[in-house]
């Protein structure tokens, strides 16, 4: 029983990171029909950017700051301007394929310019255990969970409580009408790309200390985020959050109780069942787009 609790807490921590990545994924889908197959690589890259800045002798906090800024510049602005904008009007599929190629490009670039080996990465949360109700729970798991929850709460407040958030929702739901009532739709779309870039940088900061910085680590992460987004509901931020947490916990429990060999199958089966019986996702609403 106590073992179960450990598994669930650890699962929630990974799940919270999946949720961050999945939220960014759904944001891009809603505002600009971009299925970003490079989302996992987007999470892998910022850690290496931060490591590079640290190699130049900068302290950790500065490296994080520069890493987030660079990430916003490269994965937000440049990604939108250079890849998404020219291809968007030609439909979903060519753009999706282009992001697949981008994923290969990012992976190879990191392998070539940084290292093919896994590098350690400093943790923003101190390592150690804390006693909760007589149980030792990893401080790292709690820290990750706390930061991820803060980020998600911040984002939902932005989207639901502020004028800026309402404008973004309008731009996603009906760009034409939004434009008529004076919402700067283009700027709002750019903003979602920047938010995605910051979210993946944050996810990178949280997950890399646990799994090390490696050029290939984006593959698993990207797939987990896709599954989380679909299971929770492709068109809902809170769906993506629920999906992320669910996949994190299910994955961890499957590793312990199913078999290590078929652990990866459990989220897939869950995905197939959700798509077949509730294609709008667990929390999603059918045929409606909201941020």
């Amino acid at each position: 029983m106590s073992n179960l609790l450990d598994l669930i807490v650890a699962g929630l921590a990974t799940g919270a990171i999946y949720a961050l990545v999945a939220v960014g994924f759904t944001l891009l889908w809603q505002t600009s029909q971009t299925i970003n197959f490079a989302q996992g690589e987007f999470v892998m890259l910022p850690a290496f950017l931060m490591l590079a800045v640290m190699h130049l002798g900068a302290p950790f906090w500065l490296a994080v700051l520069v890493g987030v800024l660079l990430s916003a510049l490269l994965l937000g602005l440049a990604f939108k301007m250079l890849l998404v904008d020219p291809m968007l009007r030609h439909g979903v599929l060519p753009l999706a394929i282009a992001t697949m190629a981008l994923a290969i490009g990012i992976k190879e670039a990191v392998k070539q310019f940084f290292s093919a080996e896994a590098s350690p990465f400093p943790s923003i949360v101190p390592v150690g255990d804390v006693s909760v109700l007589g149980r030792a729970i990893s401080l790292q798991s709690l820290g990750v969970l706390a930061v991820a929850i803060l980020a998600v709460v911040g984002l939902t407040t932005l989207l639901n409580r502020t004028s800026l958030g309402h404008q973004m929702q309008a731009a996603a739901q009906n760009p034409t009408v939004a434009r008529i009532i004076g919402v700067p739709v283009e700027r709002m779309i750019l903003l979602t790309f920047l938010i995605n870039a910051v979210l993946v940088a944050l996810a990178s900061l949280l997950i890399t200390p646990i799994y090390l910085a490696k050029f290939s680590s984006g593959e698993v992460l990207g797939q987990a985020a896709f599954i989380a987004a679909i299971v929770g509901g492709f068109n809902q931020v809170r769906g993506a959050i629920a999906g992320g947490l669910l996949i994190g916990v299910v994955d961890n429990l499957a590793a312990a109780y199913v078999s290590t060999q078929y652990r990866a199958a459990v989220p897939m089966v869950l995905l197939i069942l959700v798509i077949l019986f509730r294609p709008q996702g667990l929390l999603g609403r059918a045929e409606e787009r909201t941020v």
């Binding site: 299925i35 197959f37 890849l83 020219p86 291809m87 030609h90 439909g91 979903v92 599929l93 060519p94 753009l95 394929i97 282009a98 697949m100 190629a101 981008l102 290969i104 490009g105 190879e108 670039a109 392998k111 070539q112 797939q223 896709f226 599954i227 679909i230 492709f234 060999q261 078929y262 990866a264 199958a265 897939m268 089966v269 995905l271 197939i272 798509i275 077949l276 294609p279």
Partner: protein
């Protein structure tokens, strides 16, 4: 197309086919291996082109069917079956599994369908890796024999390349016939406007499943050739990446064009080899080339040609119209 254009096309086809037969004769072992791989991947991509390009159903499972075919051939031929018999069994299996995989397509479309098939791909990879009693797990199956075709052994690289090329030719002819048959028209109707297709009496349900099943069979055929080509089969080549690569081949070549997969497979299999002079940078350059191509022409390589021919036809038509106009005015 004009008579002139058709002659030109026939001449081009003869040159290309002749080139594919004659030029590799003095290739080394590796060159022949890569070229055989191109032929095999083209067959798999043609299957996906039928499912995606003609019938409009997104599938990220084609790599899994190549895996089923490769494992089928590897297991059966190492147990003494002739390759042609294992081909028969693989075709039956892939048809049934592909048909079943088509069922989700009746409920969901587009990215949802992509993810169902993606999940299937991952599940098949896990089966290849974990069911050691059948697939020998991560150690793989080695010493896969190459077949004898009509008494000719194909152990050497050149005869085996000709076997791959010959299979590609047969598949191409079958595809050519299929696309022009009422079935092919029904597939395209399904892609263009499923509701209208249904109202015209096309059984969209059956054709959707059929598009998946036939596309999957071509994946299986490619796999049956893949096993004796590499003579060693393990799970790694059949992970999700293969399905993504095949999808990339179809889109980059030109989805919905008969010869798109040929060019797409050329880009995906041969371009990285040509770029090897760039050493560690070659895959990066490859990714950049694919992105640049897709930005320039999202409909793929044949999309460029199509646009060019289309604009020429428009120009020719307007020239004719102008000539007719002046004649009409002169007559009045």
């Amino acid at each position: 197309m004009s008579k002139h254009g058709r002659l030109l096309l026939a001449a081009l086809a003869i040159v290309v086919i002749g080139g594919l037969i004659i030029v590799p004769m003095n290739f080394n072992r590796y060159g022949l291996y890569i070229l055989s791989q191109w032929a095999v991947m083209t067959i798999a991509a043609m299957g996906l082109n039928l499912t995606l390009g003609y019938a409009g159903q997104v599938s990220l499972a084609q790599g899994a069917f190549v895996g089923i075919g490769a494992y089928g051939a590897a297991i059966l031929t190492t147990h003494g079956w002739p390759l042609i018999a294992s081909l028969g069994l693989v075709i039956v299996i892939c048809f049934i599994v592909g048909w079943l995989l088509g069922y989700p397509a009746l409920r969901v479309q587009h990215h949802y369908l992509a993810f169902v098939t993606l999940a299937f791909s991952t599940l098949m990879f896990l089966v290849f890796r974990n069911e050691s009693w059948l697939t020998n797990g991560i150690y793989g199956i080695s010493n896969i024999p190459r077949p004898e075709i009509l008494g000719f052994p194909t152990r050497k690289p050149l005869p085996f390349y000709y076997l791959c090329l010959g299979s590609l030719a047969l598949v191409t002819l079958a595809m050519w016939w299929l696309i022009r048959s009422p079935w092919g028209r029904a597939f395209m109707a399904l892609r263009e406007n499923p509701i209208r297709a249904q109202s015209l009496g096309i059984d969209t349900r059956r054709y959707t499943l059929m598009a998946f099943a036939i596309g999957s069979v071509l994946g299986g055929i490619a796999g049956v050739l893949y096993a004796p080509l590499t003579q060693y089969v393990d799970p790694v080549p059949f992970n999700l990446q293969l399905s993504l690569d095949l999808l990339m081949m179809v889109i980059v070549g030109g989805s919905g064009f008969m010869f798109g997969p040929f060019l797409g497979a050329m880009i995906a299999v041969l371009l990285p080899e040509w770029l090897r002079v760039a050493e560690g940078y070659y895959l990066m350059l490859y990714a950049l080339a694919v992105i640049a191509l897709l930005i320039y022409s999202p409909t793929g390589i044949l999309g460029i040609l199509d646009r060019y021919l289309g604009s020429r036809r428009t120009q020719a038509a307007s020239a004719l119209r102008a000539a007719a106009q002046s004649k009409l005015e002169a007559a009045q």
